[in-house]
């Protein structure tokens, strides 16, 4: 059993210096309600290391200019920094080319982009789009909007009691009417890592493209879009220790080329006359207006930092935290874990008998512990498990075993107060 083992031994085995990593995150060394901050809301957003903060500061101190147009020195420097961030993203997810990497505001905008361009073009009345029961609202509503407009149908792959997709049901849903499958790589409310390769293989046997919502997967799993063979992949910078307001849409070049533009404006055009406008080449065709230049550079810096620490090491360490936390809090009477798949990212959702998640959240806040409570923008998942909400602790690369113990002790206290 993990709990009984000597943690220092395990830490040594993992070759992971969490104290050194923590020193790179200045925000962590503060008190909340007089207690040291225990930040366990990483699935909502991660904290940013100094390396990212410095990259933002450096950009605004020394490089700020608009990109792609100026002939002056700063503009060229800013352009180079922005475009080198794109190359970092390309390498990070092993895309074939940098023209397959589109900067967006975040995962939500990436998904909306595909719905409003790809689906607007290919979707006909009576067609199907397939999603799953564990999707975040941002991977439900964009499809509902376009399905309503095109009189198409949204079909949903159900989940089982462990919070895993029922693949046999997916095989029943998919048909020649299916125009796109869009599923979450790793669930934000259950933690489940879905068998996305299997899903992609099945979909491709029907010539159906697949979009992966990788918002929660990107900071935990090594993503290789060529190996996965996904058609689209969306994620956000801020869940990867980067800034908010920047995200990525990866798309296979043949799809992107055939898609109409998303928004009109500067940077996405090649030539504009009042009679006819020709669009810029990829990826700029989908990047109308001045982008979040600093955000892109910050995301590039976050990728550098995560690569430097090592995504495999981070994942192994987070798995260890999850396993320890799961085992420990499971001993609490009246606690039920929601999402019990064997293959999970470090997300731990739970409900306490007789204590509402919001009360849990407020109590833990006074212990310095930040967790998320509510439906986590996955109301269908709550309905599936017949619960109004859950409490969710989610671990990042800087969390510690001691912090899990603080969470456990906090929960114990709550159970006493509400007994």
């Amino acid at each position: 059993m993990l709990i009984k083992e000597d943690n220092t031994e395990i830490k040594k085995k993992l070759d992971y210096n969490v104290e050194k990593i923590r020193s790179d995150f200045p925000i962590l060394s503060q008190l909340v309600h007089g207690k040291p901050l225990v930040y366990l809301d990483n699935a909502a957003t991660t904290q940013k290391p100094l390396h990212v903060l410095h990259s933002l500061e450096n950009y605004y101190y020394k490089q700020n200019a608009n990109i792609h147009r100026g002939v002056h020195a700063l503009s060229q420097e800013a352009t180079e920094a922005f475009e080198s961030a794109r190359i970092k993203v390309k390498k990070f997810i092993n895309a074939l080319g940098k023209n397959e990497i589109i900067f967006t505001k975040g995962t939500t905008e990436s998904i909306n982009l595909v719905a409003q361009t790809y689906c607007r073009k290919v979707l006909k009345e009576g067609d199907d789009i397939i999603i799953s029961e564990m999707e975040h609202h941002s991977n439900i509503v964009p499809w509902q909007l376009i399905c309503e407009e095109k009189k198409a149908n949204l079909k949903v792959i159900p989940i089982d009691d462990n919070g895993e997709l029922i693949i046999e049901e997916f095989e029943k849903l998919i048909s020649e009417k299916t125009k796109l499958v869009s599923v979450v790589y790793a669930s934000n409310s259950l933690g489940t890592v879905n068998p996305v390769k299997e899903i992609i293989n099945i979909a491709h046997s029907y010539n159906v493209p697949v979009l992966l919502d990788a918002a929660q997967a990107v900071n935990h799993l090594n993503i290789d879009v060529q190996d996965l063979d996904c058609d689209f992949l969306a994620f956000s910078g801020h869940k990867l220790y980067g800034p908010t307001g920047i995200g990525i849409l990866y798309g296979k070049v043949n799809h992107l080329e055939n898609m109409p533009p998303y928004q009109g404006g500067g940077d996405m055009i090649s030539r504009v006359t009042f009679q006819k406008t020709t669009y810029n080449e990829l990826p700029h065709k989908f990047e109308a207006g001045t982008p979040n230049i600093a955000g892109a550079i910050g995301l590039g810096a976050a990728i550098d930092y995560v690569t430097y620490v090592g995504l495999d090491k981070i994942a192994a360490y987070e798995n260890y935290l999850l396993e320890y936390a799961t085992e420990k809090i499971s001993t609490l009477k009246g606690l039920r874990i929601i999402g019990t798949s064997k293959n999970k990212i470090s997300v731990l959702s739970f409900v306490l008998e007789n204590v509402h998640p919001h009360d849990v959240g407020t109590f833990l806040d006074f212990e310095g512990v930040a967790i998320r409570t509510g439906h986590h923008c996955t109301q269908p998942v709550m309905d599936r498990f017949k619960i109004p909400a859950t409490s969710r602790a989610s671990f990042g690369m800087y969390n510690t075993i001691e912090e899990v113990d603080i969470l456990y002790n906090g929960l114990k206290k709550i159970l006493e107060v509400f007994a």
Binding site: H33, N354, H358, D359, T362, F366, P388, F418
Partner: protein
């Protein structure tokens, strides 16, 4: 427990959370309305039995929510039963002032009676909606925003 937390979760609130009063459905209510807080998924349905003199003869609730929203609904029903509709609205105004007043503002706790246990809520802006859900729902029901059940 720390001071602010103890003020929010007073014993009376914990008691009402554990054993809520009037937690039942009224068959053939004069008014009922489901109140919903989309932020947290809390939902509370208020049932009212009002006679021809605008006297609230019975009031009850059902639903799910946090300790603050459940205790608030429970205490509200105990407080409002036997009052007239106008009196109920006046109590709501006082209660609303209590939970939304500025932290340093003085509030007359005496005239609030048992409801004074919610004085800690104003320290927690994120929880004001929890405390007020049942009340807003009751007012909405009385103002006929919900389904008025015909007695004919």
């Amino acid at each position: 427990m720390q001071q602010e937390l103890r003020e929010l979760y007073q014993q009376v609130i914990l008691d009402h959370n554990k054993s809520p009063r009037n937690f039942r459905k009224i068959e053939n209510p004069t008014y009922f309305l489901e109140g919903y807080n989309p932020l947290c998924g809390d939902n509370i349905t208020i049932y009212l039995l009002v006679d021809e003199n605008n006297l609230i003869k019975d009031i009850s609730f059902q639903g799910s929510g946090c300790a603050i929203s459940k205790a608030s609904a429970s205490l509200m029903t105990s407080m409002i039963k036997g009052k007239t509709v106008d009196e109920a609205k006046k109590i709501f105004e006082k209660f609303h002032h209590l939970i939304t007043a500025k932290v340093d503002e003085e509030v007359n706790l005496e005239e609030l009676g048992k409801l004074a246990v919610f004085s800690g809520v104003r320290e927690f802006p994120a929880r004001v909606k929890c405390a007020s859900l049942a009340w807003h729902t009751m007012i909405g029901a009385l103002e006929g925003k919900g389904e008025k059940v015909s007695t004919e």
